[in-house]
């Protein structure tokens, strides 16, 4: 579009916002998601939008993009006021969004997913697969990615889906680009490449919104910060006025404790899980470790290092080619998920929003979905204990929803996450593996989730946390294993677990 004109205006100062959402109010039934929130976007700036899970960030974004209509308030674009936006209108105004749930079309190819939005906005009537490809290729190359353009999106990994969603937003000459947690599944270097591109876009005068629960990341790219709590605007100002601590404080209204706190595991007893020489060529090799009752074991490494595959093999999603798995002193063959569950192993997968949940079912149904066996009495389901389990998990995990009958689709991303956790805790496993348990979870809730994990461990569960969130590992783990190219390359325990040590181990 008119990139010349835009870069001109960014040079003259930051006075005029190119988009302003004013006094936005939005309610869903009885729940007030936004309570008169204002957000001003300046050309050439990245605006970090922060707040706890369910505070209304995604809702605000959907209102700006026309996916939802506000109850009141206005959206002013270049001085023109709109009572609400429509998806097509917003795209035509140059607003592009990377949605938290990606909003991709699984049955279409990567290339089609990337170009479809602009094809719609240009009001085309005809469509050519071949003609649309070069544009898609261009953006993939700009980002230095190796996405297979002809692959169906359904067959992609979560990370590649996220990258596809990013490409789709960047391909159009947008004036406003909104990124709702765009980096949850990306590797470190992919994030850096994205940030490099963000700089280029800023220089072109594009206004960006960046939502992330990784506060360092947000502070690294942002020039402006707006913080919401419970649908209300708490503070808005230049990024230089904030640091990690103050943001957490504004978000939660309290001081968040991220310091290390671990309980001693039962090293005196036999391990609950002993893995010996587990090998799956191409994924991981000669993996051996013990897990004791009461222990929280960290499994870290870069994305793609094989750390997730190890957990998937232990849960029967993948089948290891050789090696032994000993659960509670008994050699156990895990050929499928059923075997793993029967052996008392639980797994909270990486791609929760799509794999772990029935989105249109209620919280209650989801919580109970994998533990029906446990709630059977004389062959029949026992309604009373089911209700008790649901209430217990709902309250313990402090899921923010009107009640347990609310469909999971209506929850915020971070709250949906808690439902997955509740589901696995309801099953009372002996060994629980969690893959990125706090990805997309706000700092306050993260602390709460880690507290829950500590409590479960103290009650005798053996826990494996797969994560690349270093502060989190330091905060809860008794031991940390680093996986590199499918092998365990380092082990840290006790006081050796420091952020510096783990960072070094991962990069070594």
């Amino acid at each position: 579009m008119s990139s010349e004109e835009a870069s001109g205006s960014s040079g003259t100062g930051d006075a005029v916002p190119i988009l302003e959402a004013r006094n936005i109010v939005k309610t869903y039934g009885g729940v007030t998601a936004l309570h008169g929130v204002t957000l001003r976007l300046t050309a050439g700036h990245v605006h970090a939008l922060a707040g706890e899970n369910g505070c209304g960030k995604s809702t605000l974004i959907k209102i700006i993009s026309g996916a939802e209509r506000p109850d009141s308030g206005e959206i002013v674009i270049n001085g023109v006021s709109h009572a609400h936006m429509t998806p097509k209108g917003a795209i035509q105004q140059g607003i592009q969004v990377i949605y938290q749930d990606f909003s991709l079309f699984p049955g279409l190819t990567v290339a089609e997913n990337i170009v479809l939005t602009s094809a719609v906005a240009e009001k085309r009537t005809l469509y050519s697969r071949r003609q649309s490809r070069p544009a898609a290729q261009q953006i993939v190359d700009d980002l230095g990615l190796s996405l297979d353009l002809d692959q169906e999106v359904e067959r992609l990994s979560v990370a590649d889906k996220q990258l596809t969603a990013i490409c789709r937003a960047l391909i159009n000459d947008a004036r406003v680009i909104i990124m709702d947690e765009p980096t949850t599944a990306l590797t470190h270097s992919e994030v850096q490449r994205l940030f490099a591109l963000v700089s280029t876009l800023r220089a072109r005068g594009v206004a960006l919104v960046f939502v992330s629960h990784k506060l360092e990341e947000a502070l690294q790219v942002a020039q402006d910060v707006t913080i919401l709590r419970n649908g209300e605007l708490i503070i808005s100002g230049p990024a230089t006025d904030f640091d990690r601590r103050s943001i957490s404080h504004y978000m939660t209204g309290r001081d968040v404790d991220e310091s290390r706190l671990v309980n001693p595991p039962r090293y005196d007893r036999d391990p609950v899980l002993s893995v010996q020489d587990l090998t799956l060529p191409g994924a991981f090799e000669n993996i051996s470790f013990d897990l004791h009752a009461g222990e929280i074991l960290g499994l870290t490494g870069l994305l793609g290092s094989g750390r997730s595959e190890i957990a998937e093999a232990l849960f029967g999603v993948l089948r290891a080619e050789s090696g032994r798995t000993i659960v509670d002193g008994k050699a156990t063959t895990i050929h499928g998920i059923r075997d793993a569950i029967d052996a008392g192993i639980g797994y909270v997968p990486e791609d929760r929003l799509t794999q772990g949940l029935f989105l249109d079912k209620s919280i209650a149904d989801n919580v109970i979905a994998s533990s029906l066996e446990r709630h059977r009495r004389r062959g029949l389901l026992d309604a009373r204990t089911i209700a008790a389990t649901i209430t217990e998990q709902f309250q313990r995990l402090r899921i923010k929803a009107p009640n347990v009958e609310a469909p999971v689709r209506s929850l915020s991303g971070g709250n949906a996450q808690r439902v997955v956790l509740a589901k696995w805790l309801a099953n009372g496993p002996k060994i629980l593996m969690l893959n990125g348990p706090t990805v997309g979870v706000d700092v306050g809730s993260k602390e709460e989730i880690l507290t829950i994990l500590r409590a479960q461990a103290a009650a005798g569960m053996g826990i494996i946390v797969i994560s690349d969130d270093v502060p989190e590992l330091v905060s809860v783990c008794n031991r940390v294993l680093v996986v590199q190219q499918g092998r365990i390359s380092a082990t840290y325990s006790g006081d050796d677990i420091t952020p510096e040590a783990i960072q070094e181990g991962m990069a070594a």
Partner: protein, 345 residues
Amino acid sequence: MSATGTSRLAALRGSNNEGVLALILVVLVIAMTIVNSDFLSAGTLFAILRSSIVPTVLALGVLIVIISGGIDVSFPAIAIFSAYTTVVLMRGSGIDAGVVLVLVVSLVIGALLGLVNGGLIARFKLPTLIVTLGTQGIFKGILIAYVGSRYIAELPLGMRMFSTQSLLTVPAGGENTSLHVLVVPAIVLCLLVNFLLRNTMFGRGVYAIGNDTEAARRVGFSVMRIQVILYVVAGVLAAFGGVLHVTLTRSANPQDLLGTELDTIAAVVLGGASIFGGRGSVLGTMLGVLLIQVINNSLILMGIPSAWQRTAVGLLLVIGVGVQAISARRSSRRVFAHREVVAPA
């Protein structure tokens, strides 16, 4: 690396398993030829093609609806309603109508009935199966009660003139056997719908809605408009199928076609269209129709009672859906590679 090998194999298999379907078809034909050497002949081939004309055209409409994530059971009612009403109207007006008039009248009727479906579905966001079950009953009722229930053998010129025309005739075992001319419009419609689905933004919208309606709305598709239009198109295709049916059977019977939903939907699903929406192709649908016709034909040749044909088609539908469910699970299993082996700087 076998990457190119596997991708070539994948290309052969087709994005909706069209290759697999074609293979099954070939194997079946070979098997039937071994059982009965008369099977592989121009006569059988032409007979199968002729019997595929109407199901193919009807299946095209069903295909569009299924790709959009819906299901339509009212299309046989629309088909016979449009064709029969046209015959009645032409007789009533005393015009011996030509092809153009017959087609215009019947297709407009089909479009209007499709509009009823589309309007109800898009406006009130009702489940498509329920809506079309309802309208199916309504269309049938109106047809019998207000239009007529009589069997009509005198057709307008536009239908009559094509009833017994052949495209080509070949000598086979002493007597001649010929291919019916109406395979031509069926093929033309296949090409048109293929173009519509693959090369127009409307077609992309149909796939997008079937994949994820909310995501389709978010990228700017007008979901309501696309839904209305697609049911209108499905209605037009059904009407066309109805006219072809009346022409081929050389009579208009208001009870015809009703009850053929299962065969058509089975053909579309066997042809790789996903019952969950978002997937499907014209080529697959054509192969699916052919497969069902070949099977029906084989069963007749082997002297198996016709009741079993229904069972066979039902079984095929279940197999088709089962294969989809299994391959969906299979595809979620992935290949792993060390995505990031270099350490970040």
